[in-house]
Symmetry: C2
Subunit: 127 residues, 2 copies
């Protein structure tokens, strides 16, 4: 079932907490398979997104991030350090569905805040 690289990439994205970038995954995988190529990582990641196994997140600045949790959840983005946490905002779906009408397919909700660390450290927010 699949190649060595594919297995490693699957395993890696599961093991990496948070929302790793393709490069995070690449570097991690390189530890196990030093000749693995960036292109291979992207190809596999994209295939997994296509298959609905993982999600791709687009960030304001910097590279895309990948999310191995595919159950319904939202994201809490720190405008200071860029850190992304998972969060659940209940009750949104009904509102959205009503507004979208026919053809509705889903939604993405991004909550912005300044995390505790950034508030404490006086980190200037980036937007």
């Amino acid at each position: 079932m699949g190649t060595r690289q594919s297995a490693i990439i699957h395993r890696t994205i599961e093991s990496l907490a948070g929302h790793p970038t393709a490069e995070d995954i690449y570097l991690q995988a390189k530890g196990e398979l030093p000749h693995i190529a960036m292109g291979t990582v992207y190809r596999n990641l994209n295939a997994m997104v296509e298959a609905g196994e993982i999600r791709k997140l687009h960030t304001p600045e910097g590279p895309d991030r990948f999310d191995s949790i595919t159950t319904r959840h939202d994201h809490l983005v720190c405008d200071g350090c860029g850190r992304i946490d998972d969060v659940m905002v209940d009750g949104v779906e009904a509102l959205v569905e009503a507004a979208a009408g026919e053809g509705y397919r889903g939604y993405e909700l991004e909550v912005h805040h300044l995390c505790e660390k950034c508030r404490a450290g006086g980190v200037p927010d980036r937007r």
Copy 2:
């Protein structure tokens, strides 16, 4: 008050309906000022975003888009053709605020659907 280019860029983004890309704005502005440079467009656009005069939208594929409407509103994205419309989903803010806690700064809600045209035309959705 500002340069000729800045004025044109301001005017252009106001006049362009929808959610134009930097290139859309560049091409339009070129009509008035044939030597205007892409870098100038980006620099001005970024300054306007910084100043809170416009918003920047990140799209899954393709370049960023700019939105001259800064009042609270959400986006309805067609997964078929990529078209972005404005939409209002009321009642979300209270839910989000409660979930975010201290440090809350705002949210972005993207509703995905297949627009009428794409449903009729049998356009395969892109995600």
